[in-house]
Every structure is written in structure tokens, then in C-alpha cells.
Amino acid sequence: MKITVNGTQHDIDVEPDMPLLWVLRDELGITGPKYGCGIAQCGACTVHINGEAVKSCQVAAEDIDGEVVTIEGLGTPDAMHAVQSAWVEHQVAQCGYCQSGQMMTAAAFVLETPAPTDDEIDEAMSSNLCRCGTYPRIRAAVKTAAKNLSEA
């Protein structure tokens, strides 16, 4: 079957029920999306499909119904997305393992909610776990990203 990831089309030969997460990581070598739980509890595997944030561990290969964007497709070190710039500005990451997923959730959220309140941020971001507990900085970075995007 064919899937498009970050603008590139790939031919993949996998079981229909192989989760997108493992297609990305082990078949295509795209390792920005992380494995943390496999049961949609941690959000470290979050990617966009047709612009919507989804947990890639829960999407079977046969159900991929649109263009996939991973953290690598959101922006690069030389050309960062507003969310990534905000993550750098606030130096959010400690171990950083959850942050790809956090940023993918945030990137979809700030497009829908250009001027989010704390409560809205908390609700949107609470499906992503951070074991290091960087939540105060994630909250601040989401606000900065939303502000910078809406002023852009």
C-alpha cells in the first residue's frame, strides 16, 4: 500500500493491522514519533493526518486515510514551526522524549484556538504525558506559539 509522509510517497508492504507508529519508525525510519505506551495513554506518538492530531499507535496501516505529517515535517532545526520556536524559547524539554507528541498536539490545537485560555490549553494538552513534569513550560510555550501564529 502507499502512504504519504511529510510530502513523500512511500510504498509499504505490511500487515493491515500494523500501527502507523511502527510503519513510521521501523519500516520508514522516521523516528520523531515515539513509542511510549502503545495504548493511546501517553501521546508520544502523536502525528497529524489531514491536519488532525492523532495517536499513531492507534491507527492501523489499512486505516491511514490521508497525508501524514510527523514532527520532522512540521519544521526543521533550520526552519522551525512557530510551536517548535516557542518550545526552544521556553526551553521546555528535559528528557524531551514526549515533546514531539506534545508539539504535534499543540500545533493542531493553536490553529483551532488562536487565543487559548489556561483551561483550554490544559484540556487540549492533557492527553499527552510528560513524566519529567514540564507542564508549566508546555503551557507557556503553547501560549507563545498561539500568539506568534495569530500575529504572523
Partner: protein
């Protein structure tokens, strides 16, 4: 600065060595100012130089041997070297290097000595010195115990200074200008006429010179980098998904493995049926390993699916199958035969309680998983006479030793490549995953084998935080705390952990009473007794170790006594505290939180204090008792660390650690049933989420004489402050974690 002035000559011998195209500077022997017979036996290998600064034509590389599990250790170590080397942080590369015993951790030994960190007596310091040497002899290149900063603080600056002065000597030789007329800046030696010579261009000459040994470390008032806020080396990579972790590591021709061993930890495998697994797509082999099986496949997911399809009959657990048995073992341990330590015994607690109204309470703390978000993994490749290991570990030297023993390959031919870790919290002080990967790789010579644990396997085989119980008895008199007698029972974490490395622990395990016995309080009758419970389920160091449970026990019981005395919680703690830097921490937290100001209805505040790892930390938690349960409003934290190396990293670390502590105190536990953990993943092992995270205000104080690490000490007081706040808001005293068994949280 008298102490620092001669430090390079007195305590460190710093050498240089020629490397291909350049020079390496490093510490290659540790000496103490005390005569110490242990140091007479240094072998040749132990005197070998290991580099902290490598300079060649391609650039300047700082070697940062303490592992980075997210705490920013690489950046902190680089800041210390760069301050004296006169390089900018954007000019250098950072490399964790290969493990070597020259990187042994001296500060960790100091913390294992039976002296309170506030004890600066000769006896205490001498013992710490002996412990330091023991650490070196055991070759313990360990990242743990919040020791990265204390261990590195002078050593790495000295290494930077020696390299700088030797490079100036090289420039003098090259130009004929006297060293005293040369200056350094931004990776260059500068001559009086302004000519700049890059360090890289001096490396070859420097390699031929005897390095300068007598350097003076700079006065803190001149620091350019140390103490200032910087961008961490890994911030951009971790903000763009380009940071590679252990789990992302790949080698050409690599296969993927998943193991299953008895979820009744330490029990045997009776039989297995791999018929179905072997027929699954991508499965190459099902192999025996110690205590279980491994499935080797061409993809991580296929390996996990197939391993789960193996039908296995497991034997029973060597510890009680149900939690009742674990708690009973602890409860039965409060007796003289199992007394492990009584290092605090002031006044006469027995006489004081005779005939008095005695306040009594019992406390409990559960097993907890470390559960860093990155499941553990290791890649091992066994080839002819050589083994390579790629993994995120805090104990690379143990890994090297164990893989050497297992494979029969010479120690020096085992190459451990330490990779970035997606969290640890103590989890990667264990190396089971590497040993299992090595067992598989031995059966597939020449093939790189990557073993990745599923979350379920990781949680089932997590060597957890200790289970612990405490019993307090005390009295109050004339509005003051008069007697505090606290007994703590737990199995020995150190014995369990060291036992898995084939080492035994002589004497008492001070972790059984850590965070309690060494508190700087002058209660007239004050006794802290540790009781060693029998070994139960495997346990290991979990962020702040003994203090993670004992800080809660000690400070909630103190809160109960102060309440009974009718005194103000802050004022009475201040009255009891004799240690000046700790008093300043309490004074600071009172000021930050505006302690004593009137609160809105249904709100309550609690203070918690704990000195652990030598760091005095006070926290105030404010909660609201809402219709939906307890809501965390705000936390204030003040900590005495001697020196904040980077205020930005410090704040992030402290906020995260407070969230860590509060989240586990509220909702997390590992329980055993039928000998197996009942929690398999983050749906049942719950973890703090953003909507539960309070605002956290942090202050780092620099009043003390000792520089301390801040990876753990924010953890112990947090649960106590929360319990004390809930009591203030509701009148309900919570003496057991997780607290959501007793009260609802929003």
C-alpha cells in the same frame, strides 16, 4: 578563594596526551589531602589519563561522562569546563565519551557515609574521603544520587583551567611571547598586538608539553558562563524531533527482539509453546534466555506481537503473592532484631513519654514504577573478540563488566556507547535489558540485536521504589514539640540493587532512614530508628531513594505534633531548626508564600521541609477543597544548593520534580497480586497530567558552603506539604500514599 587556589595541584593531577592530530587534557589520578593507605595500591591502569577536553584540527570537544537522562547533565558539565577553558558554548562539541574508571563518581561515595551532610567534623570528612576512594576502586562511573554537580564542580573547572594554561604555553612557544603577556578568549589565545591563535592550531604543540599543574580557579565574580542562563545543547534537537535516543538507534543488518521473563519476579519458567509465534510474519527465531524466552523478528512491533503469542507457564514468585503479605512483613519488622540503625538518639524519648499523652500515627508508602516515557532498550553486537553495546545507562562500567562476564570477551574489548535517555529517574541504574540483549546476541554472532521492552514488559519488570512503613510516637509540652520517636521499616534498596550486581552492603543501609535521621532539628527528645524488612519484591533507587518515602513520614508526623502543640507550622519548624542555611530556606519560603496571610474559604496550606542529598528544601502547597475534590492551586519551593549553575535548567528541573512527587503521591502505586504487578501501562499506573499541574514558583539559595545537585531533593518534601495542606483545608489527615485512596482530587 584559598581553598580553590591550590586545588589542581593538591587534589587532582591533570595530564595531557597526544591524540591523532591534537591533544587531550584530563584528570588521571585522584589524591586527597589525607594520608590514605588505599591510595598506595593504584595500579597502572588506574593512573591512565582520561580526557575531559580534546582539541584537534576539527575542533574542541568537551567530554561529559555523567549521563544525561533529561536533567541537562551534558550542558552543566560543559558549562563548568567552558568557564575556565575560555570557550563559548556554541564553539564546542559535547561527547559523553567511553566509560572509564577515571570518571568514577566521588560525590556519590561521600553521600553513602554515615555522617549527616551538615556534619563537617574531621571524622566525617575523613570517612567521606575513604568512601570516595572505595568508589574509585569499584570504578563506579555512576550517574545518580544528585551528584553530577557536586562531583564535577571543581574537577571540571580545573580540567578547563589546565587546558587553557597549557594552550597559552603552546602559544608562547609558537610566538616567543611570554605566557604572562598572553590572554584567552572564545577559543583563541590572544597576543599583545591582538593576533588571535585558534586553540585548534595550538593543539599539536600543546601535546608535546608537560601540562601546567598549578592553576588558580577564577573568582566567581569573574564568571562569564557559570551561574548564567544558557540554551541547553539539546534544546533545538528535542524541539524538532531530531534528538536520537537509545530506542532510535539503528545498525545495518539489525534485528529486533522482545523478551518475556516471569512476571512473578525471579520465578522460573516451567514450559513454553512457541508454535504460533514462530509462524508469525517476520519472526526469525525464538531463543532461550535466562528465566524466559526471546523472540527475534525484523521489526519491533512484530517482535512484541510474537512474544505475546508465546504461551508460557510460569512458576511462583519468591515473595508474598499478595500485598497483605508485603505489608505484614513490614509491620513485623519493628523489633530489636531487625534494627538496622539508630544514628539519631537525642535526649530520652522513653522517659519523656512515660506517663505523658502520647501522639501516635502510622504511615505507609507504596511500591512505585520509574516508568520513564522511553521504554528501556539496548543494542548489542557480538563479533570476533569484541562486543559493542549501545544503550542509555547510568552505570556504563557495570554494563561493561557484566557483558564481559556473560560473553567471555575481555573487559577492554567490550565497548559501551552511552546514548541519550528519554528519562530515567533511577530506572537505568539497572542493566537487565543489556544482559538479555547480550544473551540473544551471543546466539547470533555478527548480527546487531536490538532489544526493546514493550511498556507492559517494562512495567512488569521494573525494579520499583521501596515499599515502606513508619510508626511515630511523640509528645508536646507548653505549645512546643518535645518528643519525636520515629521508626521506619523497609527492605534495603541498596542490598537489592547491589545484590543484582553481585555486591553486598556492609553495615547499616542509611537509605532506610535517609530524609529523616539527618534533619537539622533540635527536638529535645528525638530518635530515628531504621528497621530492615526482609527482601520482598526487587527494589531499586527511585528518584530520591529512601527520602522519597521518609521525607513524607517525617514531616507529616512533625506536622501532627506541631498541630497538637497548637503552634504555627512555620514558626515551630523555624524554632526547631538549628542549621542556618536551612533556616534561611524556611524564612525564604515563608516570605515567598506570604505565609500566615488570610486565605479564602476552603483553602489550606501546608509546609514541608526535608534535607536530602545535603540540600535543604522547603515547599508550601496551597490547595482548595472543591465540590469535585482537592485542587492544587500553587506550590512554592526554596532550595539551598550552594550554587545554581544554570538558573533556567534549575527552575525547569525543580518544577518537574515537584510535579513528579505530587503526581505519584496523589495517584500512583504498583501492587502485586498472584505475584505479578497489577499495573501494566499508563492506564492503570496513572501519572500527573497537565490539568493537574499547579503553578510552581522556585527559588535557589546560595548561602551554604557546599555545591549540591538538584536532581532529587525537591521530591521528598512535596508529598508532606500536600498532605499537610489537605489537613489544613479539610481537617482530614492523610498518612498513606497514594492519597486518592482516601480523598478525591480534581
Amino acid at each position: 578563594m584559598g581553598k580553590l587556589k591550590t586545588i589542581a595541584r593538591r587534589s587532582f593531577i591533570i595530564g595531557s596526551a597526544a591524540i591523532v592530530g591534537g591533544v587531550a587534557f584530563g584528570v588521571y589520578r585522584y589524591k586527597t589531602p589525607y594520608a590514605n593507605p588505599l591510595l598506595n595500591d593504584l595500579s597502572e591502569g588506574e593512573a591512565a589519563l582520561t580526557a575531559y577536553v580534546k582539541i584537534d584540527a576539527s575542533g574542541i570537544t568537551l567530554i561529559t561522562p555523567r549521563a544525561d537522562s533529561g536533567q541537562g547533565a551534558y550542558s552543566v558539565q560543559a558549562i563548568l569546563i567552558a568557564e575556565e577553558l575560555d570557550v563559548e558554548l556554541d564553539q564546542i562539541n559535547v561527547d559523553p565519551g567511553m566509560p572509564d574508571k577515571a570518571y568514577y563518581n566521588t560525590a556519590l561515595g561521600a553521600d553513602g557515609a554515615p555522617f549527616a551532610p551538615t556534619d563537617d567534623s574531621f571524622a566525617a570528612n575523613t570517612t567521606r574521603t575513604v568512601m570516595d576512594s572505595l568508589m574509585k576502586f569499584m570504578g563506579m562511573q555512576i550517574t545518580g544520587g544528585s551528584t553530577t554537580v557536586p562531583d564535577s564542580y571543581e574537577k571540571l573547572r580545573a580540567a578547563g583551567a589546565v587546558a587553557r594554561e597549557t594552550l597559552k604555553m603552546a602559544a608562547a612557544e609558537k610566538t616567543g611571547i611570554a605566557v604572562s603577556d598572553l590572554t584567552t578568549k572564545a577559543g583563541k589565545v590572544i597576543t599583545p598586538d591582538g593576533t588571535e591563535i585558534r586553540y585548534e592550531d595550538l593543539a599539536a604543540i600543546a601535546a608535546t608539553l608537560k601540562p601546567v599543574e598549578d592553576v588558580t580557579l577564577r573568582d566567581p565574580s569573574t564568571w562569564r558562563i557559570l551561574g548564567k542562563q544558557h540554551q541547553r545543547f539539546d534544546t533545538v534537537a528535542k524541539s524538532t524531533g531530531t534528538q536520537a535516543y537509545g530506542i532510535d538507534f539503528r545498525r545495518e543488518g539489525m534485528v529486533h527482539a522482545m523478551v518475556r521473563t516471569n512476571p512473578r519476579r525471579g520465578g522460573e519458567m516451567i514450559s513454553f509453546d512457541d508454535t504460533e509465534a514462530k509462524a508469525m510474519r517476520g519472526v526469525q527465531k525464538v531463543l532461550p534466555i535466562t528465566g524466559g524466552i526471546a523472540v527475534v523478528a525484523d521489526n519491533t512491533w512484530r517482535a512484541i506481537q510474537a512474544a505475546n503469542a508465546v504461551e508460557i507457564e510460569w512458576g511462583t514468585a519468591p515473595y508474598p503473592a499478595e500485598m497483605d503479605g508485603h505489608w505484614q512483613a513490614l509491620s513485623d519488622s519493628f523489633n530489636e532484631d531487625q534494627q538496622d540503625s539508630r544514628q539519631r538518639d537525642d535526649g530520652d524519648v522513653v522517659a519523656a513519654m512515660d506517663g505523658a499523652d502520647v501522639i501516635e500515627a502510622e504511615y505507609r508508602a507504596p511500591y512505585l514504577a520509574h516508568a520513564p516515557l522511553e521504554p528501556i532498550s539496548a543494542v548489542v553486537e557480538v563479533s570476533e573478540g569484541r562486543v559493542d553495546v549501545w544503550t542509555g545507562t547510568q552505570i556504563p562500567r557495570f554494563v561493561q563488566t557484566n557483558v564481559s562476564k556473560l560473553t567471555g570477551v575481555d573487559f577492554d574489548d567490550v565497548h559501551v556507547h552511552v546514548l541519550m535517555m528519554g528519562g530515567s529517574f533511577g530506572h537505568r541504574l539497572e542493566d537487565r535489558v543489556v544482559k538479555e540483549a547480550a544473551e540473544i546476541a551471543m546466539q547470533m554472532p555478527g548480527v546487531p540485536v536490538k532489544l526493546t521492552y514493550s511498556r507492559e514488559e517494562d512495567m512488569a519488570h521494573n525494579d520499583t521504589r521501596q515499599i515502606a512503613m513508619a510508626r511515630g510516637r511523640g509528645t508536646v509540652k507548653n505549645g512546643q514539640v518535645e518528643t519525636m520517636d520515629l521508626g521506619i521499616a523497609m527492605p534495603s534498596v541498596v542490598a537489592s540493587q547491589m545484590g543484582r550486581q553481585g555486591l553486598s552492603l556492609p553495615g547499616p543501609d542509611m537509605q532506610i532512614v535517609a530524609g529523616a535521621w539527618e534533619q537539622p532539628l533540635s527536638i529535645p527528645n528525638y530518635r530515628i530508628t531504621g528497621y530492615r524488612a526482609p527482601e520482598l519484591a526487587p527494589i531499586s533507587s527511585w528518584r530520591s531513594v529512601g527520602a522519597s518515602t521518609n521525607g513524607f513520614f517525617h514531616d507529616v508526623f512533625l506536622d501532627e505534633l506541631i498541630h497538637a502543640a497548637g503552634a504555627d507550622q512555620m514558626e515551630e519548624r523555624l524554632r526547631l531548626c538549628w542549621h542556618v542555611p536551612s533556616r534561611k530556606v524556611l524564612e525564604k519560603i515563608a516570605k515567598m508564600s506570604n505565609w500566615g496571610a488570610p486565605l479564602a474559604p476552603n483553602k489550606g496550606r501546608g509546609v514541608g521541609f526535608c534535607m536530602s542529598f545535603g540540600v535543604a528544601v522547603a515547599e508550601v502547597v496551597e490547595v482548595t477543597n472543591t465540590d469535585d475534590g482537592i485542587k492544587l492551586d500553587k506550590v512554592w519551593v526554596a532550595a539551598e544548593v550552594g550554587k545554581v549553575v544554570d538558573p533556567n535548567m534549575f527552575e525547569n528541573m525543580v518544577q518537574g520534580g515537584v510535579n513528579w512527587a505530587l503526581g505519584h503521591a496523589i495517584m500512583s502505586e504498583i501492587t502485586y497480586s498472584d505475584g505479578m504487578t497489577e499495573q501494566e501501562n499508563f492506564d492503570t499506573f496513572e501519572s500527573l497530567r497537565m490539568y493537574q499541574s499547579p503553578n510552581i514558583e522556585v527559588a535557589g539559595l546560595e548561602n551554604g558552603d557546599h555545591v549540591r545537585g538538584m536532581g532529587e531533593p525537591m521530591v521528598p518534601p512535596a508529598a508532606a506539604a500536600l498532605s499537610n495542606a489537605i489537613f489544613a483545608a479539610t481537617g482530614q489527615r492523610i498518612r498513606e500514599m497514594p492519597m486518592n485512596k482516601f480523598i478525591d482530587f480534581v
